[in-house]
Subunit: 484 residues, 2 copies
Amino acid sequence: MTADFEPGSGRFPSPGPICGQSAIELARAIRERRLFVREIMDAFISRIETVNPHVNAIVSMRPREELLAEADAADTALAQGVEAGPLFGLPIAIKDLALTKGLRTTFGSPIFARHVPDVDDYFVERIRRAGAIIVGKTNVPEFGLGSHTYNPVFGPTLNAYDHRLTAGGSSGGAAVALALHMLPLADGSDMGGSLRNPAAYNNVYGFRPSQGRVPGGPNFEAFMSQMGIEGPMGRSVADIALLLGVQSGHDPRSPLSLDGHEDFLAGLAPRVQGARIAWMGDLGGHLAVEEGILDLCTQALAQLEGAGATVDSHVPDFDFEALWQAFVTLRHATSGCALKAHYDDSDRRSQLKPEAVYEAEGALRLEAPATFAASQRRTAWYQTVVRLFEHFDYLALPTAQVFPFPVECHWPEEIAGRAMDSYHRWLEVCTLATMAGLPAISVPVGFDPAGRPMGMQIIGRPRGDLSVLSLAAGYERLTPFGVR
Amino acid sequence: MTADFEPGSGRFPSPGPICGQSAIELARAIRERRLFVREIMDAFISRIETVNPHVNAIVSMRPREELLAEADAADTALAQGVEAGPLFGLPIAIKDLALTKGLRTTFGSPIFARHVPDVDDYFVERIRRAGAIIVGKTNVPEFGLGSHTYNPVFGPTLNAYDHRLTAGGSSGGAAVALALHMLPLADGSDMGGSLRNPAAYNNVYGFRPSQGRVPGGPNFEAFMSQMGIEGPMGRSVADIALLLGVQSGHDPRSPLSLDGHEDFLAGLAPRVQGARIAWMGDLGGHLAVEEGILDLCTQALAQLEGAGATVDSHVPDFDFEALWQAFVTLRHATSGCALKAHYDDSDRRSQLKPEAVYEAEGALRLEAPATFAASQRRTAWYQTVVRLFEHFDYLALPTAQVFPFPVECHWPEEIAGRAMDSYHRWLEVCTLATMAGLPAISVPVGFDPAGRPMGMQIIGRPRGDLSVLSLAAGYERLTPFGVR
């Protein structure tokens, strides 16, 4: 399957002339009146009806008639001269961890199986305002815990390339829907790698923006929770830049959201020449990494070197075990405390998966000095990273420590002979960018001999989102693989 | 003393032609070569030698010869055409909570009585780079705890207007040095009102910038600690804008520092007309406030109304007691945890004042869910405030709940017949801006019949620093009092 770029090889018809296009192409075709929104909507609904039952990526799908009526309204508005936003007429499905007004939002939890919010998440408001049409939700792990998309409400989402394998997560539904051309664009969110891991596992791009780039809310604790963030996923870097331009920008309702607003698509300048990249590999042996992953990454780096980048193997002197423990602690201190509301209610507690109980019980055991010490460790890591960027423009790491694993397995308990001591330890490689709040994209690096996809993280300096996207776009031009 | 604008009436000679000038005037006179830096330095050293022994505002003063040599070097550099920074040649003393490379930094604690740092705080680096000459430090309460400036290393700082009274704090040395013309400008910092309270108590201006406006570090825990911030103090709003322009602006070493850099002095546009002000008074009786304070504030508001502002009494519906408890909790979770390092060492513990022990023990008792709940409360307050700003441009509150009290008293245990249940409860009125991270200036509102100064807080919308300074500058033009 390595040389076969049609996901789910042979299983599905080709995406055809509409679903095969990029988000940018479709948006342009709509604005230039070469395609009706209705035609596009119709094509994507059909595609979803054909493909989705096999992979379960999209959930809470809205009725066809409702969507076609909305598409017709968009066509009418456009004919009447309405100003078309950057996503005008594009179908999108929102990750089921984000609130969608009037559309069921379950967080993958049976507690919320019938929950219909009366507000949108801030970034969802923006996606609507940009003209996209929300067709449904993308599937997630229960409360986004763990990087494997299954839950008792909707069941598992299956890998786009091999339906026996996990889609990754927590933006697993989004990644699979993109890979299989059921959507032109998708949002995701990322605390421990949830935009990056499923991108790697389904051969698409997933971008974790700088902390604060996409304003979070309204249902967030807004000051302590600085590890999770929404971001874009796509089949191309330009599509990601398009969506990020819509999601990002200061919102006064979100106290830590970054100032200003940038047009990432206009600013995108594909560039590899002269980029100084620190390849951090397995952190000098600290990380357990499945055989074959580092090789795929170094092949990708060789391509970047061939195009004029400088790649140096470099691992900063830091206590990475302590950094991981700090991540675990800060997650208890935020996600764990948030989950405690359910844990404290015996009815709801019985509906929590073990990972949620682990987080809530971790929060209950946690004392303030330990939280503060973890945040001091985080600060030290940030300072280390800032000094690294005096010598390098980018850091590179594998996106995952293990290839997509069988869907029945809840999490890898062992990698390369080393035991994983928690449900999320196997995601450690993704927490380095999280802990420093850095922008990080997962770019596809191809497949192992068994046809399992993999990605590599390209991490940029603080708030260097555009720089990361520009290198990724340069890389994209060099690489023959990746779903387009 | 109400109509007498010479602080310490009769006690000190007039500041004279050099020390009587504003920072802006002095900086201009230096750039235009109308005054030598040496003349200015000489005048301020003499002023400090005359006045400071009576009030103890400046500590760790550098030797006269060293300072004059530095002044001479500045004059030589200017004669040779060096580009003069915005503070070029101005004497300044740095608050003794901030690190000054090579200059003793005690934090007001006997533990650090001999501590000489080998780095500057980030904002101190900027003040040096802008050309200011650091002459010494300004006195603080031990570890900045409490708004009354005394400590076992240097003793108390005395109020500029009445030496029997407290200077306030924690930027007490800075406020008194300004009020008595020992410095043209001073920095301060503020968690629970430390830039505002001493400004009010000494009839000068003190501005708490938006959270993140002045990058904190290097010795901070940089992610959780979002209540304290450095800022400027001055005898005029324009001087404050000058210093803020130097202190502020993004520093990549400080992960939550706001983007960009603004020239606040150039942007300053004094303006009262049309300003919509919500007067929050004593929060509908929630706050104990000493008689006479609200009257001084409403007189100031009447002046603003006379100049075209709209002032409405308005108290948002919020559980202010819960907000105060959240402040106490978050302070344990940050300051308390930081102080724990000293508390854990029996030698050092014996050198801590009771307030430091209270904070450390509060941290020890604190569990993660309580911290998270406090931060959720803080988030709810922020959201309430954002909605308030849909109807108002500014919020106004008294700066202090009590006039300057006798210097022997550690903190007011009762206000208006109501008991204060902790060392910092009397500062509650300042925590409203802190908890939402809002920019807030204390402007002078005159004196009570006993000659004790008072101030009023003008609070702006999130990141609206320039807007706050512009209203304050408009107010400054209307008011006959205030030290200039």
